[in-house]
């Protein structure tokens, strides 16, 4: 069971941009060894929440805690130093650069001193080969360009990079939204591995079918407010879907679509 002190916690956080309130009285906690899913439609306040957690925005009201201690981050670098790593949707990877160069970008291991100070490429390659091997990605050559990897592999490399560089809290922004079923399952599997290693994973998505199998805890967001936090045993997939904005709309859409396909209906005649 999870540690009683959350790794990262927001208490009654409000964030305003001018007259717009993007987050209202938000409370949220992520524990080590748990996948906490944040669900909500576009505009629900998911990205503001991520950016608050990762140090891009500071709360207008309320307080953030790491390991139970109050903290105020004024830059993403500070959050990173506290072990809070965010894998943004664009992954922050450069397609024309090699996997190794991307993996260590900004934190290159060096050897030698002064004028002979250089990147320890051999060591870096070995680490990349090992780290990616652990998650089942077989790179033929760590010096091949990131652009040659598939979308799911790229996502995994981005996560592996965050984990390797000491992340304790892993914030994943829509990690599966651009991927097909097979690719998404590679990523979900890896998320479960990160959880098994004791990381707190915050998984942001609007896709309940990806979130429900992997999640331990679910927080639903709508218009900047939390609709509540539930453990998996206390809520079904359907209830989660209903609570997300758009759940009802999807059901209505389903009914509407069913009408189109009823045999003998006028609509079918028009279509065919």
């Amino acid at each position: 069971m999870a540690d009683p002190v959350p790794l990262i916690e927001l208490r009654n956080v409000t964030r305003r941009f001018g007259s717009v309130t993007a987050l209202r009285d938000m409370s949220f906690a992520a524990h080590a060894g748990e996948v906490h899913c944040l669900l909500g439609d576009n505009g629900a306040g998911k990205s503001t929440l991520i950016k608050t957690l990762s140090g891009v925005h500071t709360p207008s009201e309320g307080q953030m805690y790491v390991d139970g201690r109050p903290v105020t981050f004024t830059s993403p670098r500070q959050a990173l130093d506290a072990g809070i790593a965010t894998v943004f949707q664009d992954l922050s990877m450069i397609p024309l650069m090699s996997i190794t160069r991307n993996f260590f970008l900004g934190r290159e291991p060096v050897k030698g001193a002064w004028v002979t100070k250089r990147i320890d490429m051999k060591k870096a390659d070995a680490i990349v080969y090992e780290e990616l091997g652990k998650i089942g990605i077989n790179v033929r050559d760590p010096q091949q360009a990131v652009g040659t990897l598939s979308g799911g592999e790229r996502q995994c490399v981005a996560i592996a990079r965050a984990v390797y560089h000491g992340a304790r809290v892993l914030i994943l922004d829509e990690p599966t939204s651009a991927l097909g079923v097979h690719q998404a399952s590679i990523v979900l599997r890896y998320v479960a591995q990160a959880r098994a290693r004791g990381l707190a994973v915050i998984f942001i998505t609007h896709n309940i079918h990806h979130a429900y199998p992997i999640g331990d805890v679910f927080t639903m967001l709508n218009r900047g407010r939390s609709l509540g936090t539930f453990r998996k045993g206390d809520i079904t997939e359907k209830e989660v879907l209903d609570m997300m904005a758009g759940g009802r709309e999807i059901r209505e859409l389903q009914q509407e679509l069913e009408r189109f396909t009823k045999p003998g209906s006028g609509a079918e005649a028009v279509i065919s």
């Binding site: 993403p76 670098r77 990173l80 943004f88 664009d90 992954l91 922050s92 990877m93 450069i94 397609p95 024309l96 650069m97 160069r101 260590f104 970008l105 900004g106 934190r107 290159e108 060096v110 100070k117 250089r118 990147i119 490429m121 091997g133 652990k134 998650i135 089942g136 077989n138 033929r140 050559d141 010096q143 091949q144 360009a145 652009g147 040659t148 990897l149 598939s150 399952s185 979900l188 599997r189 479960a192 591995q193 098994a196 429900y212 199998p213 992997i214």
Partner: protein, 379 residues
């Protein structure tokens, strides 16, 4: 239930990471070699040498004097091309490069002839000014977030205008002669404008291995120091790019500066340093020309900004940044110099050189685009 199934696969995967057999290092090295950006330029160099070897074999292009000539032309451009390649990999252009050459030339000229400073002090002042101009270019680009193409195009006119205006106001002319008078033997003049390898050439001449004058001294008494500078600058740029953290940042900044910033790369600092690099290379070019010729001219370096970009592009640099090599730029400059001299030696009308240059650029851009597509294709 599906999620428990996923949970089980995870456990097995985590316990038995599927490690494939490592590929043979030889084939891996070959694949890596094929992926190098300078491959096209090296192939181009071989083709150019073969073509002139067949058509201009007896014209003197490949005599000692001819080789010394085209190496010198290539070297001067190559010094610029190495710095420009770094800047282009970093995703920026410096069109003020050619004007910076003129500006640095007259700075040295005026310092020596008007203010009576020694040549070494004048050269030092020129390099300090280059650092200031480069930093200004860089700061303007990163602060305004305007395309460097426009910012440095302004620099092209401002610097050339200043060069002309200041020189004409102070001396009443546009050329400054007699700069090295009386100091021909000094170390600084030799270091930048001298020749090296004299004993070797003397030995070759006295043994009749290369063309010699009747008294036994060789026709070619040594190679221009610019060739050593060319090799040194290229080696330094290559070391920076491939081996150092800074080089990694240069690729990242040119590939995607937002992503680079997200992972903590000091993007602005990298770009400013690259602009300082091109200004320094322009000044090195100017110092070499001034000390070789002994005079400065306000029009020195005209169009060099484009020639350096062409050499870098032939060498495999992408116009969009994030990809390229300094060694490639070296071969790009070598192609440039060889063809320029080759056309002269074969007696072809030199007007054709520009046609060749444009075609070369077009082919290089097409090849680079193809290579880039191949490099990022999912396999």
């Amino acid at each position: 239930m599906p999620w428990t199934l996923i949970g089980m696969t995870i456990v097995t995967d985590a316990l038995n990471p599927a490690h494939p057999p490592e590929p043979k290092p030889v084939s891996r090295r070959l694949v890596r070699l094929m992926r190098r950006p300078e491959l096209g330029a090296i192939t181009g160099t071989i083709i150019v040498f073969l073509a002139f070897g067949i058509t201009a074999g007896n014209s003197g292009l490949f005599s000692m004097a001819g080789i010394a000539n085209f190496l010198q032309v290539s070297a001067q451009l190559g010094i610029l091309a190495a710095a420009v390649a770094l800047l282009m990999i970093g995703g920026e252009f410096d069109l003020s490069l050619g004007s910076m050459i003129g500006f640095a030339s007259v700075t040295i000229g005026l310092c020596v002839t008007q203010f009576g400073l020694s040549i070494s002090v004048a050269v030092a002042i020129a390099f300090v000014i280059a650092i200031i101009v480069g930093a200004l270019n860089g700061i303007l680009v990163v602060r305004t977030r305007l395309p460097s193409f426009i910012v440095t195009l302004a620099g092209l006119f401002i610097l050339r205008g200043l060069t002309l205006a200041i020189t004409r106001t102070v001396t009443g002319r546009t050329q400054i002669p007699y700069i090295t008078d009386g100091q021909e033997g000094s170390f600084v003049v030799w270091l930048f404008g001298g020749k090296f390898g004299a004993p070797v050439f003397a030995w070759l001449g006295s043994h009749g291995l290369i063309a010699a004058r009747p008294d036994g001294s060789p026709m070619v008494q040594g190679l221009s120091m610019s060739i050593l500078w060319w090799v040194a600058v290229t080696a330094f740029a290559t070391w920076l790019l491939i081996k150092t953290r800074f080089g990694n940042w240069v690729f990242a900044v040119g590939g995607d500066d937002r992503a680079a910033r997200n992972v903590g790369v000091p993007v602005d600092r990298v770009k400013i340093l690259l602009f300082i690099g091109t200004a320094l290379s322009a000044t090195l070019f100017a110092v070499i020309q001034v000390l070789e010729a002994g005079s400065a001219d306000t029009l020195r370096g005209t169009q060099k900004e484009f020639q350096a970009i062409i050499a870098a592009v032939i060498g495999g640099c992408l116009l969009t940044g994030g990809y390229g090599s300094a060694i490639g730029a070296m071969f790009g400059a070598l192609i440039f110099g060889t063809v320029e001299m080759g056309i002269f030696y074969t007696g072809i009308d030199t007007d054709w050189f520009q046609v060749f240059l444009g075609s070369m650029l077009l082919i290089a851009v097409l090849v680079n685009n193809y290579v880039r597509r191949k490099a990022t294709e999912a396999r």
